[in-house]
């Protein structure tokens, strides 16, 4: 029954993918195809200049962790937040079939990330065997341990232990967040496991393919062990995951929407209204987009102030900052996807044009990026002695511009 259901689910995925290619929507073109092409073009263009060094174990560990970030960060969404998951459950398809189908989706995403990160080697006509070996071991282990870590965390959350808090919940003031601590820390396991796997493969000189056997065996065992955990967790955890998606109401003393104060009085009023609305809605729905700026900005500032002269430090700050900007862009795009579910009628009813919507959303996106861009630009120029600190502000504006365009496009016609 499981095999039949799995075959049915995979066939349905292929059918949907084919239908999407046959009848593409503006949302799919702007939200998937355009960013994918942009990333490929960027990797191809700047890849040769920023080629990851995988010649020794240390470099392999870094490359492996970079690859592991994709399955580690997307596994929760893919495993537990699929829009069709409740529908599939109501059809009576077994959880085990759903697990393997979601695993295939995560595997496909992980494979795509691996292929993308190998592009710079292709662009530079550099030997591919060793990076491919490291990438395969890291991404396979990251994929499998993501499945295991997330399924295990979901299983533990599906069994509420009244009054008992594990060591993982230390430091969380919010009781609901404390209760979800295993889930918060779950992505750490695939990152560490991928680093170990990449280090193990990378410790040997050249490309010793026999070394791939151990990571592969661990992956198969992890993915198989996760099956039962996922199946047991799904009925109780899936509804909890849905409830956890609801943002708690903001504190009463948190300011109301303010339009036309300070410098914003100089901007078109409609665009500023959209900005204020997007900042309030986006800030409450995706609070992580603002929160992630602080650690990146603080650590980046400190690292540049202390070791800014070292090119390796600047590269790491650049990579972390770029990732954070991309993540913030993701929040801007997600707001558009949220609008697509319904709220876009508000803008239609208010007569807001695409110009105001685009400008307002861009202002929100750029404002978010400034929390990262300004401190790092200051440290980059004045403390690290590099000349092009202003580029951080431009990069934030460009990222926000692309994300806003995609967001408004994804929201669809209003």
């Amino acid at each position: 029954m499981v095999v039949r259901a799995l075959r049915l689910l995979l066939r349905n995925d292929i059918l949907r993918l084919r239908a999407l290619l046959r009848h593409p929507t503006a949302g799919s073109v702007l939200g998937i195809a355009f960013p994918a092409l942009l990333i490929i073009a960027l990797l191809w263009a700047i890849g040769p200049a920023a080629l990851p060094d995988v010649s020794d174990a240390r470099g392999a560990v870094g490359f492996g962790m970079l690859l592991a970030a994709v399955p580690a960060l997307f596994s929760y969404t893919i495993l537990f937040r699929g829009s069709d998951a409740p529908f599939i459950r109501r059809l009576g398809l077994p959880g085990r079939a759903l697990y393997w189908e979601r695993s295939c989706r995560l595997g496909a995403l992980s494979g795509a990330a691996t292929a993308a990160l190998l592009l710079p080697f292709l662009a530079a006509s550099s030997p591919l065997a060793r990076p491919l070996l490291v990438a395969l071991s890291a991404s396979t282990v990251a994929w499998a341990t993501s499945l295991l870590a997330l399924s295990g965390a979901a299983r533990s959350l599906g069994r509420p232990r009244q009054g008992r808090r594990g060591v993982l919940s230390m430091g969380f003031r919010d009781p609901e967040l404390a209760a979800a601590a295993p889930l918060v820390y779950a992505p750490v396991l695939p990152l560490l496991a991928a680093a170990v796997a990449a280090g193990f493969v990378g410790a040997a000189p050249g490309a010793q393919w026999t070394r791939l056997a151990l990571p592969l065996a661990i992956s198969v065992l992890s993915a198989a062990a996760a099956t039962r955990l996922y199946e047991a967790a799904l009925p109780r955890f899936a509804p909890r995951a849905l409830e956890m998606a609801f943002a708690p109401p903001p504190p009463a003393d948190k300011g109301d929407l303010a339009v036309g104060r300070g410098l914003t009085a100089l901007l078109p009023r409609r665009a500023v209204a959209v900005w204020a609305r997007d900042a309030a809605v986006g800030g409450r729905r995706f609070p992580w987009a603002a929160r992630l700026a602080w650690p990146i900005a603080l650590i980046g500032f400190f690292a540049l102030a202390r070791w800014g002269a070292d090119p390796a430090t600047r590269t790491w700050v650049l990579a972390a900052g770029a990732l954070a900007l991309v993540a913030q862009g993701g929040a801007v795009v997600a707001l558009g996807q949220m609008e697509r579910q319904g709220p876009r009628w508000v803008d239609r009813a208010l007569g807001l044009g695409w110009g105001s919507r685009l400008t307002g959303r861009w202002l929100w996106g750029w404002g978010l990026s400034l929390w990262i861009g300004v401190p790092i630009a200051v440290a980059w120029s004045w403390l690290a002695g590099a000349a092009n600190g202003w580029a951080w502000l431009v990069a934030g504006a460009v990222t926000a511009g692309i994300a806003s365009g995609v967001s408004v496009g994804v929201a669809g016609r209003i």
Binding site: A5, L8, N12, L15, R16, A19, L20, H23, T25, S83, D84, P86, F87, I88, R89, R90, L91, G92, L93, P94, G95, L234, P235, R236, P239, R240, L242, E243, P248
Partner: protein, 238 residues
Amino acid sequence: MNSQIPLEVIGLRKAYHRRPILRDVSFRLNPGDAMAVVGPNGAGKSTLLGCLTGDRLPDGGEVRACGHDPFEDPVSTARCMGFVPEQPFLYGELRVGEMLGFVVSARGLDSDEGHAEIERLLALLGLAGADSVLCRELSQGMGRKVAIISALLHRPALLVLDEVMNGLDLTSAEGLLEELTTRRAEGAAVMLSSHDLELLGRWCNRGLLLAPVRDPRLLTGRDWQRWSEQPTLAAEGI
């Protein structure tokens, strides 16, 4: 617990952010019963239906659909139940025919019989010939009709319908009620949530009145008759 009883609920409780929504809800639906779930906005109607179908995790109490716990045995529960949520899910990229074909396969129904049933229900709900339309191009009412057909195809013993009449034209609504009446006569139990109190009073044979901050009130027999003569959201005076 008896597998012949389509639905049995005992002491169901649910709170959001420590605010109780459902307090000690208990009732039983026998074959052929139709229960109206009535209450103002925010009373917990959709939450109750979600707890029955496994979409919401209750804080306490028991739910048995044909004797199966939706959180312990979701596969058997799904066989017993057909559910139309307030916001139905459809694969926007698929055509109506493909979407319903997927449901037939997933339910393990005989292909020929399943497709014949699809044709019959499409015609009944005024969607004849719509198999080739992409689901994302359907209007709200048409999308709901496809979701209704998905829930009816496997002839479940329990139908849970949340605001199912929303967006349906009069002819389709009458067709649906006719179909539901037939299903009841065949032994299916129906739970129907709606703001159309007249319809609920006319068509159901029992009711559950929900209100914020109040205990639920189960109306059967004479209480239900009195309520159905003058349907109201208030529980007082019944």
